[in-house]
């Protein structure tokens, strides 16, 4: 039984390479068929905002990678409801992401064997 790994991504999409490097861990895990979960928390929820324009900052658009997650076998995708509400986000660019309450996040972290919060 492989160990499950939850990645908690807390940084906004272009606050540095963190959002991208968190996603790389997830994609690599998916490529190796490992049970990986991804939770967007705090500013990380901004990665799921609609109509972003990475090109305006000469940055890579992460949304294509995000959309590809289910194809890499990563279907456990979560977003913190409180973080989203606090940041005025209503819809998400990733329809598959489950919105979780704080109590549900506590239970989520508990369910995984390992966790990396970056």
């Amino acid at each position: 039984m492989p160990k499950s790994l939850l990645i908690i991504s807390r940084q906004a999409p272009w606050s540095g390479p963190s959002a991208r490097e968190a996603l790389d861990i997830v994609l690599a895990g998916g490529a190796f068929d490992l049970p990986i979960g991804l939770l967007f928390l705090d500013d990380g929820v901004f990665q799921l905002a609609a109509k972003q324009d990475a090109k305006a900052l000469q940055q890579k658009d992460l949304s294509a990678n995000l959309q590809a997650l289910p194809m890499f076998g990563v279907e456990q995708l979560f977003v913190c409801g409180d973080s989203s509400a606090a940041r005025g986000l209503e819809g998400f660019a990733l329809a598959e992401a489950q919105v979780l309450s704080a109590a549900e996040i506590t239970a989520l972290i508990d369910r995984y064997d390992q966790v990396i919060t970056l």
Binding site: P2, K3, D24, L118
Partner: protein, 140 residues
Amino acid sequence: MHAVLLIESAMKFAIALFSAAHAPSSRRALLFAQAALAGGHEIVRLFFYQDGVYNASASVVTPQDELDVPRQWRAFVTDHQLDGVVCIAAALRRGVLNEEEAKRYQRDAVSAGAPWELSGLGQLHDAVQDADRLICFGGA
């Protein structure tokens, strides 16, 4: 006052470091790693990611009156024959190159030599699967 805890049997640790050598968390990672081995535990892999790759740089020059963290990591990994892996994508982006990569990208400076191995994130996942505990250090 120190906590008195039960002595556990030998555990396997995977230690991942995300911050540069001069960050306090890098020193904490080193001290934790040393304590883990001193406590009779095993370190299955040391994995440097994000700014953690700078800990593998031989180009870092530390002032004489400061703790030379890269040198301490090198000695630690060499003395205990540990597996010290640096994420290649994170390293390239930050200019930490071994001889092979310096040649490949035609760069003058070779900053990462032995005992460090440049490899992919698969090594991190491998370590997470193998170890009993994953500890990450970084941020500040």
